[in-house]
């Protein structure tokens, strides 16, 4: 008798838990979907604006119908985006490649060779990780001006390389430290020198770390604004962020859809890369926080 009662109450309790679990599930999805909507709405709004004309915009429309695709070719010409792409790609790629190479060397030195002064060298790298780049803004501006390098690609390549180095070295050091020692010892017994061991034995093993560093640097440099604003003031040499920024004070400010189309054109390459290499992007951008 009591056995039956217990079974019944257990069944009731289970039903109750089942209801609560379903309700909880509903709340969970509601919260997630609202958050998701909030996080993608501004991007969709930008795309929508880029397909409107001014009357639609001023009517406060949300859906661009009929769509004005001609904004894109007009934006391409008006904001000289081809030129901006080229400048950004050039500056970003060169500084990324140089930084990755120098970081790999330094990461190997700090991670696998014991030498006097290693602690101090690593401390300098760590300072570079935390310090606001504003500290270098005025000195670099003055020195670049003295050297006549303002408004040249070098004015950005140099600082981008330097300010990516700390991050790159930090990640590469961590990765090199984790590699097994046996490989290195075997190569040394075969008579390989330090550089040979680095280049032929160790470096090929660090491909994931290299990808992480490269993506982080690419994105950071592609989006960099403060140095670009200060060191490159001529239209011809501008990169995408400052080139787009300059549109704000140009005649196109009145034509928001053209501006929005330029923003979409600016964002598309990075978003395409992101969706293709999400794992590497997320890893790259959070690698400094979560150690492998």
């Amino acid at each position: 008798m009591s056995m039956v009662a217990t079974t019944a109450s257990v069944a009731r309790a289970q039903r109750l838990v089942g209801h609560r679990a379903r309700a909880g599930r509903g709340v969970l999805w509601a919260v997630l979907l609202v958050a998701l909507a909030l996080s993608i709405a501004p991007g969709l709004y930008m795309v929508s604006l880029s397909l409107m004309d001014n009357p639609q915009l001023f009517a406060g429309r949300l859906v661009p119908w009929p769509p004005h695709g001609e904004n894109y070719p007009r934006a391409w010409v008006a904001s000289n985006i081809g030129r901006l792409y080229w400048n950004s790609l050039y500056v970003t790629t060169v500084s990324m490649v140089v930084t990755v190479a120098i970081s790999a060397l330094a990461g190997y030195g700090l991670g696998r060779i014991r030498f006097a002064g290693r602690g101090l060298a690593y401390a300098i790298v760590l300072v570079g990780l935390t310090i606001p780049l504003q500290i270098a803004l005025i000195p670099l501006f003055i020195n670049l001006r003295t050297l006549g390098l303002l408004n040249t690609p070098l004015a950005l390549i140099g600082p981008y390389t330097a300010f990516g180095l700390a991050f790159g070295t930090y990640i590469m050091k961590g990765f090199f430290e984790g590699l097994p020692r046996e490989l290195e010892e075997a190569a040394r017994l075969d008579g390989a020198g330090d550089f040979r061991i680095f280049a032929w034995v160790m470096l090929p093993l660090t491909r994931p770390a290299l990808a992480t560093v490269a993506i982080f640097l690419f994105l950071q440099n592609w989006n960099e604004f403060l140095f670009a604003l200060t060191f490159v003031t001529e239209g011809r040499m501008r990169t995408l962020p400052t080139g787009i920024y300059a549109l704000l004070s140009s005649e196109f400010y009145g034509n928001y859809p053209i501006l929005a189309a330029s923003l979409v054109l600016f964002s598309v390459p990075v978003l395409v890369l992101y969706f293709l290499f999400q794992r590497e992007f997320i890893e790259g951008l959070t690698a400094g926080a979560v150690k492998h």
Binding site: G109, T130, Y274
Partner: protein, 302 residues
Amino acid sequence: MRLHTAPRPWRQAAAGYGFVGPALVILGAFLLYPIVYSLWLSFHEWDGYTPHWGPFVGLENYRALADDEVFWRAMLNSIVFVVVRTPLEVSLGFLLALLLNRRLAARSLMRTLFFVPVVMSLIVVTIIFQRVYEPNTGLLNTFLRGIGLGAWAHPWLGDPATALPAVIAVSVWKNVGFSLVILLAGLQSLPHDVLEAARVDGANAWQLTFRMITPLMRPILALTALLSIIGGLKVFDLIFIMTRGGPTYSTEVLATMLYREAFELNHMGVASAIAVILVAVVLSIARVQAFVLPESQEWGTG
């Protein structure tokens, strides 16, 4: 590392500096030298144009800042920016991470989408949100009118009372995905058997979250907060493009004031003093973290 049975220090040093040398030269030229240079400039008066920097004025630039209302306003705004932004960013990120930390359809797709704002360029984000906040036809006011809350429509960026909160909201929007991803990775690395044991002992989801998971996550929550604080103190692009520090300095922060003093007012000495103060604040916070957060000392400054 015991690579050699008979270590030869000079050889090790040569190899070490051979590898680390290029990085040190570059960091020296672009980081250490500018730090010294800025410190030096902060003790001088200079318009940035005369061939040599002006007269040595000792701590005069710092004194001038101490007397400058705008500086204190910028300092206060920087603090408010951080104090409001960081808790929002970390708690919202943690909430979403907790929600995503279970078997869920489309979980990795959602993580991917939540991270999109982090990947987007800040300048793009800023220009979009300028439009979102636009008083007459912007998305926010249009939306408010649409749901019958037209009375709440507001010139968000034009009113000194709402400009800073509006800018902070954009910053939170942009960075929540970052906290989310770090915290989710943290959650997934928690010891499953401990949590399972607690569940078996009858802990409900609420107790599990607040008595078990949150304490275990403390180090990584603190790290996320620290990254957010340091990022918040450096904020420049967002405010410079969105409001230029206005209206009436209501969104002026240290970094925008520095830029204005240096490149619009040609006060290189004063601007350098601001840079030095900014660095001092950031480094001391990174230093404090070494005590609060022994696990990630590496993020300190050595």
